[in-house]
Amino acid sequence: MQDNTAFTCFLPEEASTLKLGAALARVLLPGMTLFLEGDLGAGKTTLTRGILRGLGFAGRVKSPTYTLVESYALSSLYFYHFDLYRFSDPLEWEDAGLREYFNAQSLCLIEWADKAEGLLPPPDWIIRLAPEGEGRRIRIEPRSEQGTSCLEKLNKQPPI
């Protein structure tokens, strides 16, 4: 079910995930924090690649599972792609020294945010990807005022 503020749509194939990612890039702003949820193989890396393509990054988008964070210096902002999959205790967030990445110039996207529950800055969006039939369903819930206004822009211009 869709409430007034959330966004949802069906993504039949990889190309549509990439296209939606690019559409998200058009409404996202520096300083925002996004949580990206979904099981292994749900298309999280593909969506991230779509967002980065939309932000003008043409290079490789590698999984940050091993490195914990991959950073991208773009013309308009710093994009940090976190993956906390390997955490077994939220305190590892502090040990890894990742808090410093969050500031007004950076856009932070976090996979497996639940692994550092309680220690992360509150998200502006929670993005959920889930398998549906042969494709995926995406659902974006705004969790802040800024998150709501950005999502309204997306809702006004259905991307797919």
């Binding site: 099981d39 490789r60 590698k62 999984s63 091993y66 964070v69 077994s88 205790d89 020294g97 410093e100």
Partner: protein, 338 residues
């Protein structure tokens, strides 16, 4: 010249002593030493990035094993990047503080150069030039190595590393995380012909690789075959391992062909995989090239490769005290050692 090496770029804390005449004298990893005595209990997993508490006891253990004193050390090498800034800073600070106190120089080492040169610690060691396949949980790349500091990236994964695909597919198969080694073990009992998994980018015509789609293919297979019995799980493991190994072997052969080189060197954790080694050995016999592996204990991140690479870069040693780390660092930007 005696070089102390300190590795702290990600999860592992490693310390080693390398002598330019006698070779590797001793090395210790946090997971290999009896930490219980030093800390009065089991080290919890959450301390996996807690290098601060580890590095000094490891240094002492390494010196003790080699029968040397701190004052015997001629230079201290440390991983300056790439890696996590916080983790790198620990190794860099300790290396510089020790070296400053001892009045010795430091050497900033690139983590991947450490891996690339680690097969030189084996006997027999390969001579330059060679093609290196660096394959681990964090990296999958093919390089042409013409000498220390002469590195040319030939191709790499465009998404997940091969080791990561192993670990995540193991998770999808209910083998825990990280379950790469468990998956390989089960694969030995499975029938690789029952299921056919894709070989991403096998025929891309270049040396790029992709392993993210393979994980999705395993996910679909698990759903289709669910609930999994033991035989089916083993058969999926076998099909998965065969797909990864085929891609790695074919791309390595293509790299040898493209460069005209006759030596292939494997580095990184996945280099310990038995089926990969068997397939490469087989190809080496048929195609008449030589293949070299680092000692098994030096496949994963370790201090020995940093001490060793530091010893190769003594010409670039700097006075201790002022240092910087490079969380992102292009291997091709390293100066060559003549």
């Amino acid at each position: 010249m005696l070089v102390l090496g300190i590795e702290s770029s990600c999860d592992e804390t490693g310390v080693a002593l390398y002598d330019t005449e006698a070779g590797l004298l001793a090395h210790h990893l946090h997971s290999q030493i009896a930490m219980h005595a030093e800390y009065g209990g089991v080290v919890p997993e959450l301390a996996s990035r807690d290098h601060i508490r580890r590095v000094l006891p490891l240094t002492q253990a390494t010196l003790d094993e080699a029968g040397r004193q701190l004052t015997d050390i001629d230079a201290i090498a440390y991983t300056a990047g790439p890696g996590l800034a916080g983790a790198l800073l620990v190794g860099a600070s300790v290396a510089n503080a020790l070296a400053f106190a001892l009045g010795k120089p430091t050497i900033a080492v690139h983590h991947l150069e450490g891996h690339l040169l680690s097969p030189l610690l084996a006997d027999p060691a390969p001579s330059f030039p060679f093609v290196a396949l660096l394959v681990s949980g964090g990296h999958t790349q093919l390089m042409a190595v013409h000498g220390v500091g002469h590195y040319e990236l030939l191709g790499e994964t465009v998404d997940d590393a091969a080791g990561e695909a192993f670990d995540k597919s193991a998770k999808l198969l209910g083998l825990g995380y990280p379950g790469g080694p468990a998956l390989s073990k089960l694969a030995d009992q499975g029938d690789a012909t029952r299921f056919k998994l894709p070989r991403p980018m096998l025929h891309s015509g270049d040396l790029e690789m992709s392993f993210s789609g393979l994980k999705t293919a395993v996910l679909n297979l698990v759903k289709e075959q669910s609930p999994l019995n033991e035989t089916t799980t083993a058969d999926i493991c076998a099909a998965f391992q065969e797909a990864i190994v085929e891609v790695l072997v074919k791309k390595s052969l293509a790299a040898l062909k493209q460069t005209g080189l006759k030596r292939l060197v494997i580095a990184g954790g996945v280099g310990a995989n038995r089926q990969l080694r068997a397939a490469l050995d087989d190809a080496a016999r048929k195609r008449r090239f030589e293949v070299f592996y680092p000692p098994l204990s030096l496949c994963t991140d370790n201090g020995a490769m940093i001490a060793h690479a530091g010893a190769k870069r003594l010409a670039f040693a700097q006075a201790a005290g002022s240092f910087s780390i490079q969380p992102r660092w292009d291997l091709a930007s390293l100066p060559a050692v003549e």
